[in-house]
């Protein structure tokens, strides 16, 4: 297939190559030349350096925030994986699991309150608390996904 050169890219590339040489020349300039040019251009090198260091500080801070976010995400992922089963369920799933657990374990159920047995008028926190108790009693697994079915 013929490749048609893009004249815009060609012109841009030519200018890029010039910019590259200008940059190369600046990077190769001696300290004395940099200072002399700054003086000639009325640039305050010390002030500019302070401003550039502030940019560096912002870059460091941004990097720190990203590292923190990554670490937090890793901790959250580990916590979520190791959290007891009930805590990984939606409130609706938790209520279904509680109802099933109480149905499957009538003896235990009898020891719980009437409200709990009915699973009604319970707040989400109550439901999760009840499920935690059932896990502690060994009546519910703590880490499989039965409750999410």
């Amino acid at each position: 297939m013929d490749v048609v050169s893009d004249p815009q890219n060609k012109a841009q590339e030519a200018l890029d190559r010039v910019a590259e040489k200008l940059v190369e020349d600046v990077l190769n300039a001696t300290d004395a030349e940099i200072l002399a040019e700054a003086k000639e251009d009325g640039r305050d090198i010390a002030r500019e350096a302070a401003s550039n260091r502030a940019i560096f500080a912002r870059a460091l801070a941004a990097q720190g925030r990203r590292r923190m976010a990554t670490a937090r995400a890793a901790i959250d992922a580990r916590s979520a994986a190791s959290a007891p089963l009930p805590r990984r369920l939606s409130p609706e799933q938790a209520r279904q699991l509680l109802a099933r657990a109480l149905r499957d374990a009538p003896e235990t159920s009898a020891k719980l309150t009437m409200a709990a047995r009915k699973g009604q008028d319970l707040s989400d926190a109550d439901v999760y608390g009840m499920l935690d108790d059932l896990v502690d009693l060994g009546l519910l697994p703590s880490s499989d996904d039965k409750g999410s079915k």
């Binding site: 020349d25 700054a38 350096a49």
Partner: protein
Amino acid sequence: MTPSPPAHATRSPDEIRAAIDAFTDIEWARVRRAAEYWAHARRVEVDDLMQDALERALDGSRQCPLHISVPAFLSGAMRSISSGEHEARAGRAEVHLVTEDGRLVIDLPDDRQTPAEAAESRQEAARIKQTLLDLFEGDIAAQTILEGDMDGMEGEELRGLTDLDVKGFASKRRLIRRRIDKAFPKGWTS
């Protein structure tokens, strides 16, 4: 004599950070000037470009070979970033084939160049090239170097065309840069 590091040896992000932390005012000046050239050529903000390059240098997403100075490494990062920004803005049309009825839909997001804008950029780039060459009217050596740069010629090959010795060639390069600096104090954009 100190042996050269292996070509593949690179600085760790911590080493890059330490090197930048130890920049003198003059090293910062070099990096700043490099940032200005790249930012102006690509219509991006100098400070943003510097910060972006510094962040990428610190997070290790770019490798810094030991034989490259950290200012030169940062300059390379800025070139790459500014180029990416420019291409993202001027990028080509995204073509989507709509399979339901076989129509070919060309999606041109608002911030991309229209054909008219592309033509305008092309003309502007050509104009800038000519303006640069005109700055050295009557200075054959400078024009030769500049044209050689535009054509991608390198080092000795280019110097050979100018009949300048190494020192004279370096002086001519400096003259070229300083004259362009004065003619384009805010850089050129195309």
